[in-house]
């Protein structure tokens, strides 16, 4: 049995993966380098991201495959959407690393964290392109397991609590996913995730039923990672406990991995027609609603962002409820915009936590008058929140909302569309709360440290990115193909 190898194509997975080993090796050779590890990691991730760029070009083949078997089926394929997601995962991880760079941690912990982060990113990057159950399951777990450790590594009581919550849920979800995978195998008789086997299986009533069960098990398993309600309970705990950049990693890179995983399955099942995925629509609706409603009363900034993530996850999978050619791109497009806005928000929170102290960044009330106190942070955060709301001047958020609603409206799923509209309203109420605090009376944190230059740079770049993509949203949406 022979496999073809296209190393360039595999590089987005290999670079971080091998990089993780490299970081550990470097640490073994020259211990206690501290920040150097972070810098190395960021460099590796950016290199990985650079290797994706050829796939992003409109001229690139769609999809590009490798690891092909002799019978012509391939285990690894990257289409435009996949390349876009890989790029997002790698860049977002790099940004997270940059955010983590100035934070003081015990020096022996830095290489571990860096390696874990690289591993998780490699998993995220790989699951997007996996085309068979085996590699899909492996890369999905590769993206998940390290995050548990990353959360726990903050080594505070709240962090270990969050990690425990994350751990138990992830384990059970993995078990459910594995069961789903097994059922899939039972129904189709193959580990290929392509549509042909699904189509063949759907002709037989028994295997159809088993396939249905398989799909819902897998959706449930991935739903945990996407923080879809009711698989979401870990999210506020983990976000609240983890260090701020790791929260960002959970909110962004992890979500990219999860959506990538879901899209792989979705592509396979979409040949069956719409009713198969109605469950996704229901989950999306519940997630949006619960996330928004809970965020309305949340007082902690990080937990607020967690609820926001939950509701945004609903928006991300919303288009998938309608099986259409647009759905995949719409979901990916929304995710990319969400990733940008959430990253920027986390960057601001990180910067503030670093300069004013974590206690002055975790309560929403401590953002009072930020627009006056720290105009750059205030404006950036306001713009990020507006993007999450989907209101101008953050046009990019609005375009994302249009994108997400498009397939639903096009598929005439009226109840879902109306729930989405109501949630658009709730979402505005949610983020306006924070925005109002930004406009409100200033609260004095006592310390007036300057921002760390790296944070400053990241926030400034984030602001610039939001502004540029608001003028030309196609720059961002073009990442996931046209």
């Amino acid at each position: 049995m022979t496999l073809t190898y296209d190393w360039w194509l595999l590089a987005p997975v290999l670079v971080p993966g091998v990089g993780a080993l490299l970081v550990l090796v470097v640490d073994a050779i020259a211990p206690r380098l501290g920040r150097v590890h972070w810098a190395l990691t960021a460099g590796l991730l950016l290199v990985g991201a650079a290797t994706v760029i050829p796939g992003l070009l409109p001229s690139a083949d769609n999809p590009r495959r490798t690891l092909c078997l002799s019978d012509g089926s391939c285990l690894y394929a990257v289409d435009h959407v996949g390349a876009g997601l890989q790029f997002t995962a790698l860049v977002s991880a790099a940004v997270i690393v940059l955010l983590a760079l100035p934070i003081r941690v015990p020096t022996e912990r830095a290489p571990v964290q860096a390696a874990l982060l690289l591993t998780a990113t490699a998993g995220a990057s790989g699951v997007v392109a996996a085309r068979d159950l085996t590699s899909w399951l492996v890369t999905l777990e590769l993206a998940t397991v390290p995050t548990v450790a990353l959360v726990a590594l903050r080594a505070r009581r709240s962090a270990t609590d969050g990690a425990l919550s994350l751990l138990t849920t992830s384990l059970v979800s993995f078990a459910i996913t594995a069961m789903g995978a097994a059922l899939w195998f039972a129904a189709t008789g193959t580990v290929q995730l392509g549509g042909d086997a699904v189509l063949a299986a759907s002709h037989d009533a028994d295997s159809r039923r088993i396939l249905a069960l398989a799909v819902v098990f897998i959706v449930a398993g991935v739903g945990f990672k996407l923080s879809l309600v009711p698989f979401h309970a870990w999210t506020p705990e983990a976000f609240g406990g983890a260090s701020v950049p790791i929260g960002g990693f959970l909110a962004v890179t992890s979500k990219v991995a999860a959506l990538g995983a879901l899209l792989v399955i979705f592509r396979g099942v979409s040949v069956l027609g719409t009713s198969a995925l109605a469950a996704i629509g229901v989950l999306a609706a519940i997630s949006m609603t619960v996330g928004n409603v809970m965020a309305l009363r949340e007082q902690q900034a990080l937990r607020f962002l967690a609820w926001s993530t939950i509701s945004q996850a609903g928006w991300v999978v919303l288009p998938l409820a309608a099986v259409s050619s647009h759905a995949v791109r719409a979901a990916a497009g929304y995710l990319v915009v969400y990733a940008l806005a959430t990253l920027v928000a986390f960057a601001v929170v990180t910067a503030l936590a670093h300069s004013d102290g974590r206690n002055h960044a975790t309560r929403l009330a401590s953002y009072g008058g930020l627009l006056r106190r720290r105009p750059l942070l205030g404006v950036t955060l306001a713009l990020a929140l507006l993007a999450l709301m989907g209101l101008p001047p953050a046009v990019v958020g609005l375009v994302a909302k249009v994108l997400a609603l498009g397939p639903v409206a096009g598929g005439r799923l009226w109840p879902l569309a109306i729930v989405a509209a109501v949630n658009a309203m709730l979402g505005v109420a949610v983020y306006l709360r924070w925005l109002r605090i930004l406009f409100g009376a200033p609260t004095d944190p006592g310390t007036h440290d300057r921002l760390h230059p790296v944070h400053l740079a990241v926030v400034a770049i984030g602001l610039a990115a939001l502004v540029v993509t608001s003028i030309a949203p196609q720059l961002l949406l073009g990442l996931v193909g046209r």
């Binding site: 159950l133 492996v138 390290p146 080594a155 270990t160 195998f185 580990v191």
Partner: protein
């Protein structure tokens, strides 16, 4: 050759027992064991189905191996976390409320 219904039944039982364990136990390690049971059910299903199909890749069997491996890795992380939890608060009760900073 045994009839596939028996292993299938076992898969169901294992998964159910595992799920029950996960939901009913308050000790984190026991929860882990429940998860292991569920994973075992998945693995068993893979093997059973794999033996029924003539797959040149022997996918069923290899998947089982993968699942066992992943499970092992997870257990490693899980035990580390449980250790950390124990250090932080002195028990490993999964029904205890999470706390803020």
């Amino acid at each position: 050759m045994i009839h596939p219904v028996l292993p299938m039944l076992l898969v169901g039982i294992l998964f159910g027992v595992g799920l029950y364990g996960v939901l009913a136990r308050r000790n984190a390690v026991l929860v882990l064991i429940g998860v292991e049971l569920m994973l075992a059910a998945a693995g068993l299903l893979f093997v059973t189905v794999g033996s029924l199909t003539a797959d040149p890749l022997r996918a069923g069997q290899s998947m089982t191996v993968f699942i066992i491996t992943i499970a092992a890795a997870e257990i490693a992380v899980a035990l580390a976390v449980i250790l950390a939890v124990f250090r932080a608060r002195g028990n490993i009760d999964v029904s205890q409320r999470g706390s803020d900073d």
